[in-house]
């Protein structure tokens, strides 16, 4: 009898072996260690943690190595690991006002309590390839200052004191915390769910959408009220203990956009908010996120919804790069059964047209008849 050739199985095994080989590259070059990625490609690690929705620098570094530097693939690896982890509950909301700040800039005021802190930023570097890095250069010690004990209130809070910006809705500690990864997205979504979606969303997608709002597709007149980067305390209230247990510190980036005001004949105008938050140092991501968050509030703020960035279903259904890459890339899987069906139809339709032409019948008439 005849049996199927197990070419598929052998091909897969061989492809995996070849992949491992290609990942390693030239064996004469030292192998990169995850710790090196964690320490020296930290922004890649931060992006993978954010889009992978899991705060674990070591795991993200291994994922980046395994994915050969493909950050979307690395986020996918982290997500697939994350899905197997048990859930113990939700932490208390983090308090970014109490952040140990490493960087803090505001575009809205020249000086603010606590001051502007540039921190580690590319912002004023000249983008000239630094050939010293090729050989590895000694790095000068960073300048140090005594820790400033002064509080660093958030700029939006300062505006809030003067009632110039809309108030954030009061928090409800008893309200359930929605989890996009544990329940299907139901539209329209609340802002909490939207922000969760955007926080996991693809940086490039949010960047492009945020940019589009600046170019007039859903303009929101944004000012970067404040961007801050630093460590915040995580606390978890365990039911059986009854009080908040500190879990440690995580580094986050927060962006608060201050957008053009909203008011009415009776309601004094106030600035409106757009919010972005990400694990690690993801400044571009949080700025795009804050622009898109504000754009998505169009309906709530009585603005006409007409631009892509304002369209909740469009944004939320297409923001996830793990979903998007899967569905775009699945086109390379075999589709020959469906293609055969299409081939059959196109050949049949072409044959019919050829037959009609041979019989001298004008096509339009025949098609019209067919439709009637």
């Amino acid at each position: 009898m005849y049996v199927a050739v197990k070419g598929g199985e052998r091909a897969i095994d061989n492809a995996h072996r070849l992949l491992a080989h290609a990942r390693r590259g030239d064996p004469a070059v030292p192998e990169v260690a995850p710790a090196q990625i964690r320490e020296q490609l930290a922004l890649a690690v931060d992006r993978v943690m954010t889009e992978g929705s899991l705060y674990d620098r070591d795991l993200a570094a291994i994922a980046i190595k395994q994915a050969r530097g493909d950050l979307v693939e690395a986020a996918f690896l982290v997500r697939a690991f994350r899905t197997t982890l048990p859930r113990f509950g939700a932490t208390d909301p983090i308090d970014t006002a109490a952040m140990q700040v490493a960087r803090r800039v505001s575009a809205t005021f020249k000086d603010i309590p606590g001051g502007q802190v540039l921190g580690p930023t590319f912002d004023y570097t000249h983008r000239l390839i630094d050939f010293l890095l090729e050989a590895g250069a000694d790095i000068a010690e960073p300048a140090r200052a005594a820790a400033d004990p002064a509080a660093m209130p958030r700029v939006t809070d300062l505006l809030g004191h003067d009632d110039l910006i809309e108030r954030n809705p009061p928090g409800d500690p008893d309200a359930p915390v929605p989890d996009l990864t544990r329940e299907p997205l139901d539209l329209p979504a609340g802002r909490d769910l939207r922000l969760q979606n955007l926080a996991r969303g693809d940086e490039g997608f949010l960047l492009a959408l945020g940019y589009s709002t600046q170019r007039g597709f859903g303009r929101t007149h944004p000012f970067a009220g404040e961007i801050r980067l630093g460590e915040v305390e995580l606390e978890f209230v365990a039911e059986d203990v009854g009080f908040a247990v500190p879990l440690g510190e995580i580094t986050v980036t927060e962006c608060q956009m201050v957008n053009q005001f909203k008011g009415s004949a009776t309601e004094p105008p106030r600035f409106t908010r757009g919010y972005g938050l990400a694990f690690g140092h993801c400044e571009r991501k949080t700025m795009g996120m804050a622009l898109v968050d504000r754009a998505l509030r169009a309906g709530e703020l009585g603005e006409e919804v007409k631009a892509p960035a304002q369209d909740e279903e469009f944004v939320l259904m297409h923001s996830d790069n793990v979903q998007a890459t899967g569905f775009v890339e699945h086109l390379k899987l075999p589709h020959y059964v469906d293609f055969q069906a299409e081939l059959g139809l196109i050949r049949q339709m072409r044959a019919e047209i050829a037959a009609r032409a041979a019989a001298g019948s004008p096509d339009g008439t025949t098609l019209q008849e067919a439709a009637e």
Binding site: M1, Y2, V3, A4, V5, K6, G7, G8, E9, A11, I12, F76, R79, A80, R82, T83, T84, P86, T181, R182, E183, P184, L185, D186, L187, P188, E313, M317, V322, Q323, T325, G326, F327, V328, E329, H330, L333, P334, H335, Y336, V337, D338, Q340, A341, E342, L343, G344, L345, Q348, M349, E352, T366, L367, Q368, A370, A371
Partner: protein, 305 residues
């Protein structure tokens, strides 16, 4: 082969039986039960992120993982064949995580997970067919918004679909849909049969097996209980016609099966062979011979054993 520990973990992999945790399985199982109770209706479910990409069958894999038991015998096909790379990959996934027996023989399988085909052999009451579904919403290409299409289903408002099919006829003289051809289930829900060729649509009607559909990225599960009425949409003057082939299978001579076209040279040479490899092999074992059986390359015909 079976490596089941009583706790349900598979010793070889360290993962839970069939990979998913028990809470996830319960959630999927509840969705499956409601899907069976409302044939053709898409039940939202909290699809998990699986260790394979969306688009590679995460929905079908989750459904299979939720129903699979230690005594099942699993068959996985893609494009009708057990040997396509993704079918091999999914079969290995379940071998590793569940240790259940697998088979390529349609008749021996208790669960068949499929992408793009329904096996040629009539399915039985002892079988479950699990479809991998990319876009579960049959109205999606007419109306991209979920918020709109779910209302259309609620109102049983399928006018848009009929307009689309009718426009096809006006433009092409045919309903220009050859796969994922929409069906109506029990005179109520319009349903996407997944991207199976319309050749397979008649097999869905009054099928003896339970049919389950899983869409992972789109987070929907739907079902056809056995012996459910499934009608392909059409018009009185343009009745539904399954695809017919002018050829017989070059390997087994079958004239009633769905065929793959294989290009054999760059001078117009081609041969047509059964897409259902198990069915074709079985026919050849019974002595049926197609015109090119002796000369087809081993990659197409398989190897003589």
């Amino acid at each position: 082969m079976s490596a089941l520990a009583t706790s349900g973990t598979v010793a070889a992999s360290g993962y839970n039986f069939a990979y998913l945790d028990e809470q996830t399985k319960r959630m999927i199982r509840r969705a499956i039960l409601k899907a069976i109770a409302i044939p053709g209706y898409q039940v939202p479910f909290a699809s998990r992120e699986m260790p394979m990409p969306y688009g590679w069958g995460t929905g079908g894999v989750q459904v299979t993982a939720a129903i699979l038991g230690a005594s099942d015998r699993l068959k996985v096909i893609d494009q009708g064949a057990d040997d396509t790379t993704n079918a091999v990959s999914i079969r290995k996934f379940f071998e590793k995580t569940s240790g259940v027996a697998t088979t390529t023989h349609t008749a021996e399988a208790t669960i068949i997970q499929t992408r793009h085909r329904i096996p040629e052999k009539n399915l039985t009451a002892d079988q479950v067919l699990v479809y991998q579904v990319p876009i579960p919403e049959p109205l999606r290409f007419l109306e991209p918004r979920e918020t709109e299409t779910r209302v259309m289903h609620a109102l049983e408002d399928y006018g848009l679909m009929h307009v689309k099919l009718y426009e096809d006829i006006a433009t092409h003289g045919h309903i220009a849909t050859t796969y994922a051809y929409p069906v109506k289930v029990e005179d109520r829900y319009v349903m996407d049969p997944s991207p199976t060729p319309k050749f397979d649509n008649p097999k869905m009607n009054d099928c003896a097996a339970l049919q389950l559909f899983g869409a992972g990225r789109e987070k929907r599960i739907y079902a056809l209980p056995p012996h459910t009425k499934v009608v392909s949409l059409d018009f009185d003057d343009h009745p539904f016609e399954p695809t017919k082939f002018d050829h017989a299978c070059a390997l087994c001579g079958a004239t009633h099966t769905y065929l793959d076209e294989v290009i054999t040279d760059d001078a117009g040479g081609r041969m047509f062979v059964c897409s259902d490899t198990d069915h074709c092999e079985e026919r050849r074992a019974e002595g049926h011979r197609g015109a090119l059986l002796g000369e087809a390359p081993a990659a197409i015909a398989g190897a003589a054993e």
